[in-house]
Symmetry: C2
Subunit: 307 residues, 2 copies
């Protein structure tokens, strides 16, 4: 068996709770949830599992946790429903699957993976994507599963103010994601989100867009983004980092700095990302006050929220 190291990083969104609003209880709850999701990924990688299975396990864990804006914890749209987006990509053959604007699906990451593995398509949306999920016999949940008093009051507040907000009260860009390198040298990335509170008009952000919110290529890196999605789409953030490595010879750290701390800042694009390169190096840059994150690199495990 190849004894090369494995690495994994996860995020639960950038922006985060302002430090002044954080309590020890909340911080403990977030850290525990991040730790649990990271361990779900590590468990796969320890058993010589694939990066693809590891990011699937980690994102599923984050989707099942009501603390994060994805899956169960998704925010409310303008009409009181939940519209979720997700994507997944595997770096050894550049295949990907994405879904956008799906309602009722318990784990959008599993639907994205089914799109990749069991359809001829790369991106399915809305009612059509839900029909595909039913054909794949993926679990659905009713609105009670997705109900959350905090999200509901955020929505009511946004409705009153007629504001569309990226996870309103906590000023957090609600997204989850994972990137990994397995012992076989394969990379994978996945991102999942419940979008913006009070969103209208079927808005889709960068999370389901390959090249913007998610990208993986064994030759360079695997990336999952979180932030103000429109800027991440127009800056093609995830693929930009890969291109800076492949075409300009930058290290992962230098490419991340160039894109997140310079180019995005110049455009006013707030957010961050998690990245792992072909050698297993991890980088977690953000230009917001914080980013819920955890990672395992060179045998060491870390969890953090603020800078």
């Amino acid at each position: 068996m190849n004894q090369a190291p494995f690495s994994i990083a996860i995020h639960g969104g950038a922006g985060t709770i302002l430090r002044t609003n954080m309590t020890p209880e909340k911080e403990h709850a977030y850290n525990s949830a991040l730790d649990q999701a990271l361990k779900a990924g590590i468990a796969v990688l320890t058993e010589a599992g694939t990066a693809l299975d590891a990011v699937t396990a980690a994102v599923t864990s984050l989707e099942n946790c009501p603390l994060f804006n994805a899956g169960r914890g998704s925010v409310f749209t303008h009409d009181g429903s939940h519209e979720m987006d997700a994507s997944i990509m595997t770096g050894h053959n550049l295949e990907s699957g994405s879904v956008a604007g799906v309602t009722g699906v318990r784990n959008p990451v599993l639907l994205a993976r089914a799109v990749m593995e069991k359809s001829e398509h790369a991106l399915l949306a809305s009612r059509g994507a839900e029909a595909f999920a039913r054909a794949m016999q993926l679990p659905f949940e009713d609105s009670a599963y997705f109900h959350n008093d905090l999200r509901h009051s955020q929505w009511q507040e946004a409705l009153r103010d007629d504001k569309i907000v990226l996870d309103h009260t906590e000023k957090k860009f609600g997204t989850v994601g994972a990137v990994a390198r397995d012992i076989h040298g394969n990379l994978a990335a996945s991102t999942s989100t419940g979008g913006m509170t009070n969103k209208k008009w079927g808005r889709i952000g960068d999370s389901p867009i390959i090249g913007a919110g998610t990208y993986a290529n064994n030759a360079t890196c695997a990336i999952s983004c979180t932030g103000h999605g429109e800027y991440f789409i127009q800056s093609v953030v995830a693929y930009d980092i890969s291109c800076l490595m492949e075409y300009k010879g930058l290290t992962l750290a230098d490419a991340c700095h160039e894109v997140v701390r310079k180019k995005l800042v110049q455009r006013g694009g707030e957010g961050g990302l998690i990245a792992v390169d072909h050698a297993g190096n991890v980088c977690l840059p953000f230009n917001s006050e914080g980013m819920y994150r955890a990672w395992y690199e060179a045998g060491q495990q870390h969890v953090a929220i603020y800078r």
Copy 2:
């Protein structure tokens, strides 16, 4: 007034009618439609108009022509409706607008432009995007407007065979697009499509995806793609060409060759694209048998279908 040259290129899809099936009458009809769309763009640029207005005019003309799979000529989905995608991007500030899976909107390119100019979002989908179109008072058409006997028989045939096809009978990837450089040095790109005949599950291709089917950046180039969308999404084709120019120093022609004739061919991704660079050079590479195309460069006008 700046007397720098302007350039524009348009396409009506790659793959095209096999040469053996082409008649002089059909060829004349396609050439006339391409000529008309090109002239709509040239008219804007001659009057010192913007690249953004020029690509809008050209794509609107192509959408209004029933010969091409976009707007009026869109193919039928599995359930007998028309689901259209479109995008537009302007290279001077990297702003963009896209719509996916919209039904009944007469000109999806105008809706994409409204998303760019009058919403805070980059991508709107499905019923939400249609609601936004109504709020913007954009024209809608009933199903009779989109009906076309050829498209209808293609759909019936696909239904019988249970096949999802990229513009079935004519083996053509049905998409339209335009790229332009105006006399002010600004670039713009736009792409619009009616998708795949008999498509199910809300499939979205590369046309509305910034970085995949459409990209524009004054520092490098403007790109509009046509082809097997899944490969174009996973290869981030449009932004790849921009990155090869910006980070590796390739010319537009060399970058196009690398991506369309080498990388896409290696992956089995059939199709092509149109491109214009910051200096007004035009490139129209494809790896399929043909691509409906027309362009104006250095004062000369051209129309072509095959190699």
